[in-house]
Amino acid sequence: MVLKSESAHATDPDDDTRRSLLRHMLVVRGLDEEAHRLQKQGSIDLWASCQGQEAAQVGSALAVGPDPAVFPSYREHAVALLRGVAPDELMAQWAGRTFCGWDPHRVRFFPYTLVLAAQTLHAVGYSIGQRLQGREDFVVVYIGDGATSEGDMSEAMNLAAVESASVLFVCQNNGWAISKPAEEQMRTSLAERARGFGIASARLPGDDPEAVFSACARAAAHIRGERAPYLVEIQVGRIQGHTTSDAQEAYRTPDDLARTRAADPVTAYAARLSDRGLVDSAWLDGVDAEVREMRELLVKEYA
């Protein structure tokens, strides 16, 4: 798959892009499931699942195209794969082999940062640094809802606003910071908070990758056009626990969990594209095969 830059599809995704969205979502879901299996059998130490957040991740990453450097948090596995991080490279740090399994420069997907919100300042500084050197200064930084409470996030928003840095903040609001609900973490929304700092923003549901794609394409156009930051807050569900160490049943109701699982963006989007006739069972079988192969490779490498 060749990534297109956002300028090529400033508004709605075309059919190729739609299939691409779905394919990336299905692949990372396969990876995520395999990671859980490997963790359960003790082959890797820990896994931070992205189940429920695939539409947000794939939609945003495809919308901005291959050029911007990405400063992830630690859960952006879909973005990683989409950028060309190999599945076994992605798994390496969760297996205790390294702090970062891939070459960040090659894929312009930088290492996971486990100290919450620290990467937000790096992202803005990097963008400023790139601009000063006359190079691509569009940067994407991912952050969770909980991490936005850290001073660094506010400082980064203020810095980006004051410097008018070309930074897209993507806040994946999955409703939880481990066990603390997002409503108890903030009084407003991240989108409102960003505007308070002078950053344009949008808030949207993250179940539909096409809507995410469009919103992020618009955000990217704003950033390139105005040379100013933008924040998208994407509301997603967290299907699994915070990590494999977290038994979320301890603090979430069965109802809430059932609702979140029922709103699975991957199955929903697969059904939608099938219904629309954009993918058929042959296409789906093809992706299945790809996923199977990936899982076998992971098992060979890690089990």
Partner: protein, 326 residues
Amino acid sequence: MSTVRSTGLAESINATLADLLDSDPRLLLLGEDIGRLGGVFRVTRDLQRRFGADRVRDSLLAESTIIGQAVGMAISGLVPVCEIQFDGFSYPAVNQLVTQAARIGGRWNGRVSPSLVVRIPTGGGFRGVEHHNESNEALFARYPGISVACPSTGEDADQILRHAVTLGSPVVMYEPIRLYWRRSAPARDPEPARSPSAARIVRRGTDLTVATFGAITHEVLEAAHALAPDVDVEVVDLRWVAPIDMNTVLESVARTGRLLVVHEASKDLGIGAEIAASVAEHGFDALRGPVRRLAPDRRTYPPANFEKDYLIGVQEIKDEVLVMTK
């Protein structure tokens, strides 16, 4: 070698906190995920259910906020017992702890005496990911106004916590993660500590003093038991690393003539440096040979696959003792 069954550290601290919440209405707990979830290590399990969300507070996800608001609460007359989720995430709280909590009593010329406790799960040895294996007791130990404790048993944690909440100045207590759920420990001499803030001689011996603290006390004791009766090692569990009970260490070295300090934090500027320096200053004449420190070299805690090479094990302790006493 004798091993005894013990209550896990987590369970013991949980019981102490429950008792303190019961007996002192001014006390409250504050930390990320300590309420609903009972903490990522379940040290505060069930406490929110028992004492309510006002007193067992799921804090915002911001360490500076935790300590900063605790300072304000302490000024208002409460006794906040905070939790930082992992030692590696204590840095955003450094400013509030060092420039505010530690100095507020002095700045107020003694007109407030804020008791404020910060519990920090610490140390490695459980294949943790990056930043989850730090041993930072030396960070706060440097600062006047902050006391730092490093218990190695539930009983000590209990005594330390009860003392800490009455101290009128901040106490940071480091809790070894790998002891939270461990249920057996090498046997210790039953000798009581002279005071809640004193060190404890957990094994009497004649040939060499090992000063240590925290989780690795267990490995030191295991090594000491294994070396007996050929080498008779005295083990001092410091329990507090700021201020350090140097009297107990110096008296021990006066008896044995040899000092080894063992800790899990990296060697440079660690607690071992302070102890070795103090003994080289004040116990020099008693020394029969060089003091030694056994601790990881100055390098970052590695990815899990390499942590065995990083951590100090029983074998290295035995080897070191043998080199020093041969």
